[in-house]
Amino acid sequence: MSTLARKKGVGAVIWDYLTTVDHKKIAILYLIAGGFFFLLGGLEAMIIRIQLAVPNNDFISAGFYNEVLTMHGTTMIFLAAMPLVFAMMNAVVPIQIGARDVAFPFLNALGFWLFFFGGVFLNLSWFLGGAPDAGWTSYASLSLASPTHGIDFYVLGLQISGLGTLIGGINFLVTIINMRAPGMTYMRMPMFTWATFVTSALILFAFPPLTVGLIFMMMDRLFGGNFFDPALGGNTIIWEHLFWIFGHPEVYILVLPAFGIFSEIFATFSRKRLFGYSSMVFATVLIGFLGFMVWAHHMFTVGLGPIANAIFAVATMAIAVPTGIKIFNWLFTIWGGSIRFTTPMMYAVAFIPSFVIGGVTGVMNAAAAADYQYHDSYFVVAHFHYVIVGGVVFALLAGAHYWWPKMFGKMLDEKLGKVTFWLFFTGFHLTFFIQHFLGLMGMPRRVFTFLPGQGFETGNMISTVGAFFMAAGIIVLLANVVITTVKGKRVGNDPWEDGRTLEWAVSSPAPEYNFAQTPLVRGLDAYWIEKMEGKKGLTPAEPLGDIHMPNPTILPFVMSLGLFISALGFLFHNDYGWGLPVGIIGLLITLVAMFFRSIIDDHGFHIPKEEVMEAEKKGAGA
């Protein structure tokens, strides 16, 4: 397992990625898999929009629409947005804190493979009898009534990928607490690292309720449980609570890293320190905290009673305050700065008005009595696409452009980047702005068609046209990626020239060991400080020496594969005789792999000092 990779065959590269525990390679895996699922979810969105372009359309059938709708929401949230967020975290956070890797490289790989197999499992449903069709929220009465195995795929697939997410969350918590370079106090951590930290804490507390909800649903559907069957004393509202106790924090799990990404970008391209850093940290923590007290705002119409509705309404509104603090701090980061409109900065700038529109419609939803009108209408669809696309997707696109050179050593083409931006930005507002009004005019969401004569025609047509703009933008982005990969020029450490944080101090892409010498951090924006003092590199905190690295391993892949096989077996255990044995065999595979993990000592290996020096001289690690 040497460091300086020689030219390898395709097989060797694949094996390398299957067994890697390097956070930078795992980031690339997350990017590819998450990107693929984003295209899939986007394709599903396009199908939705085509179907809804005109009234009484029969592009797809009613049942199929529900499958597409459910898979669009589920895929986008669990298999696209979250993994892409994880891609950014893995690519950046360890380097930003001056670490050589994450705290648990093995678990990092395990987290990825669990997500990946969970996602593949969920999508197998398309070919094995039908996808889930009860909405991404999968409310209990409908999901128990659903006749195909779709919901079972949903339950087991999310269970597996959720486990991966939980592991990833714990990993980042420990990484950020224990692996920071000397001098990097909590209040010197870059904003994206802070966002990752709070997000990981949210994951830790939000995913268990989902796990439990999914267990109940699995029991009810596959093993004769009665949690949600009113006839035997069950209660469907329990599912709704569990889902939203998870579901609301989930939206902040998505958006806080987005905030973090934008914080980095605003500072970099305004050439200015983040305004009000400490209040930004405070606001992030507060949003995370409040995020757990508001879930019932998704259930205002369930009939929880006025007391619960009023409490949750007011609690929800409170979140506007810390979010507002962030918005104004960003504006004042730009204030007095020297802005360069690169592609990432375009997204960041566009994010502010877009997200504010989405945020304030959120506060409108929070007014419980008025939400009786908005709920389950297109007004809500408009709200959440404004925050998710205008916040999270913009951030992911911005982050991808921003850190692409750090991940791959080449800059994405700026011209094409801006074409993508304008297409996507225009399409986004065209698609979703009008949906506010559709909702207010009485159009419910999750409808596979609408009848003429209700005033919905024009709005839906505009919305569909907008979606095509977004698709065109994404296609340009894909072209950009291909062109860059083929013809792009290699770049140096700090290709944007205004980098402030530690990741811009190492070569692009970073060497396997990140830092030849662990740096000494002397303040917020550690690299900027060194640059301003006219230094080329960082101040080292340790002498040059051998570098200890973790061993690659196939076990994470095997463990995840085991669960995948097991889930497949249990899913069919009521239909086929092979179901139960396959289910058990799968579990055994996982257990045996865990056993090996436990008994094989893994002390890692060392990269000798000489090799490190040579790599550093060349300026590129891999």
Binding site: A103, N178, L204, F205, V212, F223, F227, L232
Partner: protein, 206 residues
């Protein structure tokens, strides 16, 4: 210093579980995991509480639960918590043999607990209280069964550690592993305290 280096009581650090960075990471990561587990069990408890009276014509808590078995199980598990404290005590004193001994006792007590639970469940099933009898039964078996699964996993884990390290003794590579496993074991006990209180005792009160 290499982590597997042979140590003596003099060189053995006071907090062996946190002496290496790996150890520190494990220690912290595991505590966070327990924070997540707290929420997991809370969701199970919350559901149990919401459904405990939904017996749908099946047996109710009051009719089913019997004090002696629960009491015995509680004593076994509580004691096993103490024995694992003993094990950690000896680990800190760098007395590997005694540590293994106390871990062994812990495992035995845990196995006894698990056997009692299995016996209890089969009795219930005979009395017509099956998993699919009512919402109450589903909630009961899922909550108590999840705890039981934790016990079983804990047993396997501690056993694996004991056997794997039987020959080579204590070092800074495996000390954190033992420590974390014992934390897990205590956590299982914490959960049981709430189970015997909320499920069994409150169930018997009615």
């Amino acid at each position: 210093m290499h982590v597997e280096e042979k140590l003596t009581p003099e060189t053995f650090p006071a907090e062996p579980e946190k002496a290496t960075l790996e150890g520190k990471n494990k220690f912290l990561g595991f505590w966070f995991f327990l924070g997540g587990e707290t929420v997991l069990f809370a969701s199970l408890f919350a559901t149990y509480l919401a459904l405990k009276d939904s017996v749908a014509g099946g047996p109710s808590a009051k009719e089913l639960f019997q004090m002696p078995i629960v009491f015995l199980a509680t004593m076994l598990l509580l004691t096993s918590s103490l024995t694992s404290v003993y094990a950690m005590h000896h680990m800190r004193n760098f007395d590997f043999k005694k540590m293994q001994l106390w871990l062994g006792i812990t495992v035995l007590l845990g196995a006894g607990f698990l056997a009692l639970e299995i016996y209890e469940f089969t009795e219930y099933v005979h009395e017509g209280f099956k998993f699919s009898t009512s919402a109450f039964s589903s909630a009961f078996y899922t909550l108590v069964g999840t705890h039981g699964a934790h016990v079983a996993f804990g047993l396997l884990w501690i056993l694996t550690l004991m056997i794997r390290n039987a020959k080579r003794g204590l070092n800074l590579y495996n000390a954190p592993k033992f420590y974390v496993a014992s934390l897990y074991w205590h956590f299982i006990d914490v959960v049981w305290v709430f189970i015997f209180t909320v499920v069994y005792l409150m169930g018997m009160v009615g």
